[in-house]
Amino acid sequence: MTTTDVLERLLAEWAAYYRLSPEQAAAIRSEVLRNADPQLEADWLWRFLRPLTALLDESDADYTIPYLKLA
C-alpha cells in the first residue's frame, strides 16, 4: 500500500469524523428557526396579505372600530 493510499484512507476517516451528522444538522436547523425573529414572520404575513389589504385601502368603507369613533 502506498503512502498515497494510506493518506486517502486517513483523510476519509478524518472527514467522516468532522462531517455534520444528520442529528447535528437537524439541531442547528432547529436552533435557527427557534431564534427566528417573530417580527419577520409578521412582515412576511403583511406582504402576503398586501393584495387584500390594498383593496381595503382603495374602498370608501369605514373600518374604524367603534370605540375609536367615540373618542
Binding site: 498515497t4 486517513l10 478524518w14 468532522y18 462531517r19 442547528i28 436547523r29 427566528a36
Partner: protein
C-alpha cells in the same frame, strides 16, 4: 413563514458551508456556530432569496459566509479560539472501534497536520473531503480556477504525506 424553501436551501448547502467554515477557521465548534449564523440570515432574507436562481442563491450564501469569517477573525483577534482548532478529535473520540493504536496515532497526527496547513489549503481540502465537492465546484465557490484548486489540493496532500507519513516525494 413556511419552512419549505428554507429547508431546501439548508439541505442543499449546509454541509458545504460547514466544510468551508471548518477549513477557514480550523475549529469544528466555531464552524457550527457560523453555519447557524448564515442560516439565521437566510431565514431573514427568504423573501428575497427565493426569487433568485439557484446559482445566485449560492453566491449570496458564500458571500455571507466569507463576511462572517472576516468578522469572526476580527472579533477573535484578542482571543485564541481558532488556536483550539481541530485538536478536539484527539480529546473527544476514538475514531472507530476497530481502529488500531497505530492507525489512531496516524489520525491524530493527520488532524494536527491539517490544523497547521495554511487556511487556503485547509479550506479546499475540507471542501473536498468533508463537503464532498469537486475541484470545479470548489473553484466556483471560492472564485478560483479549477486548476488552482487542483494544485492546492495536491500541495495540501504533499504536505500531509510529509508531515504524517514522512514521505518527502
Amino acid at each position: 413563514m413556511s419552512t419549505r424553501e428554507f429547508d431546501a436551501l439548508y439541505a442543499a448547502h449546509h454541509q458545504t458551508l460547514y466544510a468551508y467554515f471548518l477549513g477557514r477557521t480550523g475549529n469544528a465548534e466555531l464552524a457550527q456556530d457560523l453555519l447557524q449564523d448564515v442560516f439565521v440570515r437566510v431565514w431573514r432574507n427568504m423573501l428575497n432569496l427565493v426569487a433568485l436562481p439557484a446559482e445566485r442563491q449560492r453566491s449570496w450564501l458564500f458571500a455571507v459566509a466569507r463576511n462572517l469569517v472576516i468578522d469572526e477573525f476580527r472579533a477573535s483577534a484578542t482571543r485564541t479560539r481558532t488556536g483550539e482548532a481541530l485538536a478536539s478529535l484527539a480529546e473527544n473520540t476514538s475514531p472507530s472501534a476497530d481502529t488500531s493504536v497505530v492507525e489512531r496515532d496516524l489520525l491524530y497526527a493527520l488532524d494536527t497536520a491539517i490544523q497547521h496547513l495554511p487556511a487556503d489549503l485547509r479550506t479546499v481540502l475540507a471542501l473536498q473531503v468533508v463537503g464532498e465537492r469537486s475541484s470545479t465546484e470548489i473553484g466556483e465557490l471560492l472564485g478560483k480556477p479549477p486548476g488552482t484548486v487542483r494544485y492546492q489540493l495536491a500541495e495540501a496532500r504533499r504536505r500531509l504525506r510529509r508531515e504524517v507519513l514522512n514521505d518527502d516525494n
